[in-house]
Symmetry: C2
């Protein structure tokens, strides 16, 4: 058996300690599958004395993580510190500049600096493994970069943040409002004390940028993603969604359109029977639509020490085997600069909820505004009477543009009989997939 | 860019023609992702004049597929002829003996001769790609061999035959009996004129043998699989399953038990809310339980020209990139000879349906037999009265052994008041997965 692959681990938080634990626990199994041993030779973390439940005997401590990159004994650097910039980025640059492959779970850093780091890796003849950066232990980076590499990808979409999915699932099951469920999630440890990165959609958008880069062979463009979080989702919307046969999910969607590459992260209504609608609680799910393979679905735990360590070590095994791919699947020179489809050009169906005065003529006013913007109504629910006071109206539209919808809603919001700001949620059409057989020849 | 990878395709049926079409249609895209062109230089098929809708200009025809293996211009052989033995096996042996990697969709051949072929590949320094042999285009071989390589696998299970899943889905949705739905499936082209390979479970068992070999690091042992098909499943069983909160699926399960490696392929009741229960129609689904990653789910089309070609070409791209792994994930010398857990040692819960004379005392007789075999009843449905004549009794058991259950059912079947052979379906306990959140810390 060849000599061990010598690894440095920077950051010994939940994930870093999990990686070390996994490498120790499955040492023999991993050596068989990797063709050689995977050996942690150096680590770096803020507190050398903290008890982490891992054996670090014989492993060198470095107080300065940057020194790991320059350590001649280190062949691969695992960056598990986190953060878009700062020490994580400095370490990534130093490792790649030294020609050493980088393995990282850092979606924020790659979503923003991925193009620069990929170019540096390529220049120095090395690569970046980032399976752990998207959807935890689900091997969806490998599926996109290798398993589905024969396909033109039409669309990739998914539930990419377990905290948001947990909150939306709880809201649906209990009927409670967002703020209450968030507080409970924080108490239970399912949401951070500062939950903004999760619930405002940034974490999921970082992951979407990476999926889109792989699927469409471009540079990650976090800045090009339309992002809306889940703060505005109400129990009423969730109830109406169920009534209409949908569930509300925080969905990241990337697809190629006539206007360019569309990337958006927002609450969306998905058919309740679709596989992605069945992904509940803290789980993640990703769907890839390929032109030859059709729709393929990947589900599992999107975070946590075990799943993330599983993904990091899978990348390490690939490196131990000598398998090195271009970071985003094709050489940097072949990465496309896809035009960015503006959100205004988005074409889709919409759910609209209005609170209006219950008097004759209100529907006529609203219908007239929609007609003026060439928006046609697919369904309408107006239930309960409260003459002279507020009642809800729920509409779904046929396909229209975001631009038309935004303008129509602004105008509707200004009608005197409309009592609150109109609420809008996009409806995501999902192809037939598992659970929705479609026609065709032999299975 | 390095010179093209030169490929021979043996067999130009639906799949073979699909592979050639895919390679032509995505020629530039594939070259970017593979780092070089993938070029079909030679083909072999029975009828050279048949119209296949593919361009074979400049491609050499070989009437004898074995000559492809010896052709010095050919670097990789795609065996897409099919069949457990015969010409397919001869070609596989010839290609590997010549040190050329083999890419194949042939699950029957690999399930039976996989160990021999893997040893030959290793001896000659080459490998076998067989992503297309299991679950069509879903990259589940890659997930097991690479993406989840850091995990000890506890269990792998799945719906591996689209024909059977289509029939069971139709039976559930329409309430019609097996024979009627099979006939319709044959008319629609979803089932073969001779459907035995599919509906008696052999096709799915071939795939299970390959999944189990990868998951548990052993040789494929098709002969060690307990196989039951779906001919015996009745609309009554499907109805009772729904009432009890289950769906009936033809499930392949491999798991490590105290008695050894258990491999079984049979109709099973799975919780209706589990992700695998949602895989309907012609779709396939596979679940892998890993000790670090938890439960991960893979779904998509399990067959057809497009999905199968997607998997074959993914293997070709891996080879073009120089990525070559041991056939079953570890060197042949490291493959374990796991003891075969006899089916009699299987431990699980059971569904039992009896047709009995409706008179006092019958339940007492049945309960006494179960008690004598230490089987405890979990639930019981006895509905409708038909004094002195036949009524159904449906039971579910707590955990017991297959041996105890088989003996108890034989004894129950001999009771004078039991009118028909007792029907039994195993219940598969599924861990919490997507859709079934469990406790734990941060998602």
């Amino acid at each position: 058996m060849p000599r061990p692959l010598r690894i440095a681990v920077a950051g010994l938080g939940t994930v870093g300690a999990g990686v070390v634990r996994l490498l120790q626990q499955h040492r023999a199994l991993i050596a068989r599958r990797a063709g050689r041993e995977l050996q942690v030779v150096a680590v770096s973390a803020r507190d050398a004395r903290r008890e982490r439940g891992i054996d670090l005997a014989g492993v060198r401590w470095q107080s300065d993580p940057l020194k790991l990159a320059l350590d001649p004994e280190v062949e691969v650097v695992c960056e598990l510190i986190g953060g878009e910039d700062g020490i994580a980025l400095a370490l990534a640059r130093a490792a790649l500049a030294a020609g050493k492959p980088l393995v990282t779970a850092n979606k924020a850093m790659l979503a923003v600096h991925g193009a620069e780091l990929a170019a540096l890796a390529e220049e120095r003849g090395t690569t970046i493994g980032f399976e752990a950066a998207v959807a935890g232990g689900i091997p969806v980076i490998k599926a996109l970069r290798e398993g589905l590499a024969a396909n033109g990808i039409r669309r990739v979409y998914g539930i990419l943040n377990g905290t948001c999915n947990y909150i939306l699932t709880q809201m649906r099951e209990s009927g409670r409002p967002f703020s209450e469920v968030l507080e409970e999630a924080q108490r239970l440890g399912y949401a951070e004390a500062d939950p903004a990165t999760d619930i405002d959609g940034y974490d999921a958008a970082h992951k979407l940028a990476l999926l889109a880069a792989l699927a469409f062979g471009g540079r990650p463009r976090f800045d090009a993603i339309h992002i809306e979080g889940i703060r505005q989702v109400t129990p009423e919307d969730i109830r109406y969604a169920e009534e209409l046969g949908y569930r509300i999910k925080l969905l990241g969607v990337a697809r190629m359109t006539a206007a360019g590459l569309e990337q958006r992260l927002h609450p969306a209504m998905v058919p309740a029977q679709a596989p992605i609608a069945q992904v509940e609680g803290v789980f993640n799910g990703v769907v890839v639509d390929g032109d030859f393979v059709g729709s393929t679905v990947y589900e599992g735990r999107g975070a946590g020490a075990g799943p993330t360590a599983s993904a990091v070590v899978a990348d390490l095994i690939d490196l131990a085997r000598g398998r090195r791919l271009p970071v985003f699947g094709v050489p940097c020179s072949a990465l496309a600069d896809h035009p960015v489809a503006p959100m205004a050009a988005h074409v889709g169906c919409y759910y609209i909820r209005l609170q209006v005065v219950d008097r004759p003529g209100v529907m006529a006013e609203i219908a007239a505004v929609l007609r003026d913007h060439a928006i046609s109504i697919e369904s309408l629910i107006q239930r309960g009477r409260n003459p002279g006071r507020g009642v809800p109206i729920v509409l779904t539209s046929h396909e229209t543009t975001e631009e038309a919808m935004v303008r129509a809603l602004a105008q509707i919001g200004r009608l005197p009989s409309v009592l609150e700001e109109p609420r809008m949620i996009r409806i995501e059409p999902l192809e037939a997939g598992p659970g929705q057989p479609e026609g065709g020849r032999r299975p």
